[in-house]
């Protein structure tokens, strides 16, 4: 039962990279934060408890997390790259407001069943899926 932290350490070791305090702290903060944070947002969160961790280190670490498969890079409306932990990626979908950029996560068993059926119809074994529904949220409809 390897934890995410363990697999990160292993990824680092097997790739000739070093397990540093900063990398462990950043991973921990990433895992305990809401999903879809940008590197900047993560940096700001870290700053209160770890004012010594630099901007660039957060960027560099997030890149490693994406390469290692622990996180996925995502792009929504805005210009920033956002990160999402991969464990949760399998069964949740996104509803995104074109206007204010709000992101709502949802799950739906019926949708998922149809995806499985579709994959079967095409003789695919399904590994993961990405669904984004774009539109305008209630709040923005009234502006």
């Amino acid at each position: 039962m390897a934890s995410v932290k363990d697999s990160f350490r292993e990824y680092l070791s097997t790739h000739g990279l070093k397990v540093t305090r900063q990398r462990e702290i950043i991973l921990e903060e990433f895992l305990s934060s809401p999903s879809h944070l940008s590197a900047e947002e993560l940096y700001l969160r870290l700053r209160s408890n770890h004012p010594n961790i630099g901007y660039a280190t957060v960027y560099r670490t997030m890149k490693i997390l994406a390469e290692s498969g622990i996180a996925s890079e995502r792009h929504f409306g805005d210009r920033q790259t956002r990160y999402e932990p991969n464990i949760s990626e399998e069964h949740h979908y996104h509803l995104i407001c074109n206007s204010c950029g709000k992101i709502i996560e949802f799950e739906d068993a019926k949708i998922e069943a149809l995806f499985l059926q579709t994959a079967k119809d095409h003789d695919f074994t399904l590994s993961h899926q990405r669904l984004e529904l774009y539109g305008v949220c209630v709040d923005c409809q009234h502006k």
Copy 2:
């Protein structure tokens, strides 16, 4: 039977924007180019025949095309925003093989109905959607 050009003109008119030579040229080039071009690539393509069209105009026009629903912004590995024409009639989805990269396009009325229902449940007006199912195709399963 409104053409894409017509609907662009209409979008411009109904939004207090002007139908200019540059906008028409950019749309035409966009439609007759391979998909997934970035604004810069489009600008470079235009430069040979229209050296007078500026960089910023291409960016501004692509933004309007995205807002009008004629194009979608996409992000792949690199840092650039790429544009894809929206085939508005049918919503097509993608089944992608993790191993050989094969892409199968499909449509599914039941899936689409569920998307509409989901949007309604969250008080969203749906504009467009993106679905990618990843897995391994039959051919690759036997390797």
